[in-house]
């Protein structure tokens, strides 16, 4: 009896063990990201597709909160030697990641894994934000967007203003007249609002007009860079916005996007500058008026406006894993860059496709004709070859620097400081941060 029992046990054990050994357990690739809600679902779908496409690796995606929280989780995990393979980090953390000594540069990962990637087939305005000074890609662009100008077409019609072009930007002078007409005719309480004021009105304003935001090619060429935002052009731009604020052509709605977006949706402002990633939200929520998109305005007399710069996040590969696992990471990144995934990503979230092939393929399918909103941002980043100044910003403690710029601009809007003084102070305070950063990484 006892013998029979143990034989039975053996059979069951074998039966259980067999299927497991028949399929060798796939290697797990951990991917920590900041995508939640509908975007999180899209990321999850892409991961599921990758896992279904092959059997060697299994990517496990985990949402670790918002951008700050994901970066902190990555830092804490790295210190505890429990880091994920892939970490999504927002664009302002680029410099910190690049110098961290904790990363496996993506260009090298792809080379080592024997994947020949033709980086010239990627959107250069997106790629250049994440390249080092030698032009090598350090992290994989993931979600990228750029600011554009939304406007209320009903209000424009009422004021007798023709709809704006989707490719040729209006000048700031023209925008001044447009907002004046709208405010004077009492069509809206305010002319324009802007989200992320540092990103849209200082960083992108500088890039579009090819004005250095910081010395050393915006920090790409050295940690000893200094902020240059107190230059005459930017001061003039902020002075103009302040004078608009005084006669309601500009209304300050807060540092992030929630306040300004609420003002635009409540029809308290006719024009709203924010990332293209706001399209989906407006399409879903705005029912009582029609709106459209236009590129960001430029200064009169700008011969050829530069590309605008991107915001968003990229995927960093962290050190400390096995060669086999890195092969899986490379395969995953390559999979994400495939046409199918990029088109799906763009259609679902509005973030840019990162390859020219995916862009061309969408174009060939007539996607941009059916969704003219989506073309505005892409055309804006592709309208020129990025220069050393318009390719992006590479600053240490960039989070604090944006904070400083926000604080100083707010003091301009509420009349505590003159634009020149505020931007001088912003530059001086930011330079202190940059020096501390430089000292840390020496």
């Amino acid at each position: 009896m006892k013998v029979l029992k143990s034989i039975l046990f053996l059979i069951i054990a074998l039966g259980l063990a067999l299927p497991a050994s028949a399929f060798a357990a796939p290697l797990t690739i951990d991917f920590w990201h900041a995508m939640r809600g509908p975007r999180g679902d899209v990321v999850e779908k892409m991961i599921t597709d990758f896992n279904a496409s092959q059997s060697l690796y299994k990517v496990v995606g985990t949402n670790k909160g918002n951008y700050d929280e994901v970066m902190n989780a990555g830092v804490a995990a790295f210190r505890a030697k429990k880091q994920p393979h892939v970490l999504q980090v927002f664009e302002v953390g680029t410099q910190t990641m690049m110098l961290s000594g904790a990363i496996y540069p993506v260009y090298k990962l792809m080379e080592d894994a024997g994947m020949n990637v033709d980086w010239s087939r990627y959107l250069q305005a997106v790629l250049s934000y994440y390249m080092n000074a030698d032009g090598n890609l350090m992290s994989m662009p993931f979600n990228s967007s750029t600011p554009v100008m939304y406007y209320n077409t009903d209000m424009f019609e009422k004021a007798g203003i023709a709809p704006l072009s989707k490719t040729v930007p209006v000048t700031w002078d023209e925008l001044g007249e447009i907002t004046k007409k709208i405010v004077d005719a009492k069509i809206a309480p305010a002319g324009m609002v802007t989200a992320w004021q540092s990103w849209t009105q200082v960083e992108n304003y500088s890039a579009i007009h090819n004005i250095a935001f910081a010395s050393k090619a915006n920090g790409y060429e050295g940690l000893d860079c200094e902020l240059k935002i107190n230059n005459p052009q930017v001061v003039k731009h902020i002075t103009r916005l302040k004078s608009w604020a005084d006669d309601n052509r500009f209304m300050y709605g807060g540092q992030k996007y929630q306040g300004p977006q609420a003002e635009f949706m409540a029809q308290n402002a006719a024009i709203y500058m924010d990332s293209v990633s706001g399209i989906a939200k407006l399409q879903k929520t705005v029912k009582d008026f029609k709106w459209d998109l236009a590129p960001l305005p430029i200064e009169a007399g700008t011969e050829k406006p530069q590309n605008s710069i991107i915001g968003g996040a990229s995927l960093w590969v962290l050190n400390g894993h096995t060669k086999e696992e890195y092969k899986g990471v490379a395969a995953f990144l390559k999979f994400l860059a495939s046409n199918d995934m990029q088109e799906y990503w763009h259609e679902q979230t509005g973030y840019f496709p990162i390859t020219i092939d995916a862009y061309e393929s969408l174009k060939a399918k007539g996607y941009f004709n059916a969704n003219p909103f989506q073309a505005v941002g892409i055309d804006q980043i592709n309208r020129a070859v990025p220069t050393r100044i318009s390719r992006g910003l590479r600053l240490g403690y960039f989070v604090q620097i944006r904070n400083i710029i926000n604080e100083e601009l707010e003091q301009v809007w509420n009349g505590t400081k003159s634009p020149q003084k505020a931007l001088d102070d912003a530059a001086a305070r930011s330079n202190d941060q940059l020096r501390t950063f430089e000292k840390t990484y020496k």
Partner: protein, 296 residues
């Protein structure tokens, strides 16, 4: 006769306090010491480099005019919160202490706001007072004609976070004042009433002095609350803005350390914050407590 127990072993007392010491050392002293060490270092977040820089982080802090302003803002904020919440708590307690119908119900309801998390309290006040969609804000702007805009004006923002922070703490103060008042012997009040003292006089000359231990305790607790626990309110309502006008010390520690990953500066700020709280509490015990009358 007083009963005394003696233990023969010399080591038993140490053994008995050992668990408590262990908890205190691991959860209070160890992190505090780590923080002090970190404040003398410049290190990258990933822990690959660390340089000992003496007082560099402190010098950077105290030469930053905005940091000094942040200290000033913190004091203004905490004094305002303590003053508003203690006086309102006392007022409500004095009212609720008088015989009422449904006393138990009223008291229970008055304690509720304390159960609300600071972040939620912040969001609720934001919904009331936000210049774009706040119901009360629209009333202030349209009916009273005041240019209320906490997104733009520092003073408005400060008023908003003081209200949101004090509102929550009123319940807490209420409970303690209520208990304090219940402990005052009825005979004292009745004697004064017989002598012809009005309710206001009875309150001012009898209840108020007898509540001084409660006052003292609450002032310490409210200051500590406004220094640390209001983080959730600042985070949801103003994020330190506009123009840094509501950037209290604890929020700056979070901004620089957690979001900005400048660990050295953040640690130095924590040390400053810790010292401030130690000094304030010491001063309160040293000078204010002397004036407190314990017992009737």
């Amino acid at each position: 006769m007083i009963k005394r127990s003696f233990f023969k072993s010399k080591y038993l007392p140490y053994l008995l306090i050992f668990p408590q010491m262990l908890v205190t050392l691991t959860f209070f002293y160890w992190p505090a010491i780590q923080g002090i060490l970190q404040s003398f270092l410049l290190s990258d977040p990933f822990g690959q480099r660390s340089t000992f820089v003496w007082f560099y982080n402190y010098i950077e802090l105290f030469t930053d005019p905005l940091y000094l302003e942040s200290i000033f803002i913190t004091f203004t904020f905490s004094i305002a919160v303590a003053a508003v919440s203690i006086s309102l708590g006392l007022f409500i307690a004095a009212m609720a202490n008088r015989a009422l119908k449904a006393t138990a119900l009223v008291r229970t309801l008055l304690i509720w706001p304390y159960a609300v998390a600071p972040a939620i309290s912040g969001i609720m006040w934001l919904f009331l007072l936000h210049p774009s969609y706040g119901i009360i804000a629209l009333a202030i702007k349209n009916v009273m004609g005041i240019d209320w805009n906490p997104v733009l004006y520092g003073k408005d923002a400060m008023a908003m976070i003081v209200m949101a922070s004090a509102w929550k703490q009123v319940s807490y103060n209420f409970v303690f004042f209520m208990a304090g008042m219940q402990a005052i012997p009825k005979s004292l009040i009745e004697a004064a009433a017989i002598d012809g003292a009005s309710p206001l006089k009875r309150f001012w000359f009898i209840s108020f002095p007898l509540l001084s231990p409660t006052f003292f305790f609450l002032s310490v607790m409210n200051i500590i609350y406004s220094f640390f626990e209001t983080f959730g309110i600042i985070h949801t309502v103003t994020q330190g803005g506009p123009g840094g006008s509501t950037n209290i010390l604890v929020y700056k520690v979070y901004q620089d350390g957690f979001v900005g990953l400048n660990l050295g500066s953040s640690a130095a700020q924590s040390v400053v914050l810790m010292s401030l709280i130690i000094v304030i509490t010491f001063l309160q015990f040293r000078f204010v407590e002397k004036k407190v009358q314990y017992g009737g």
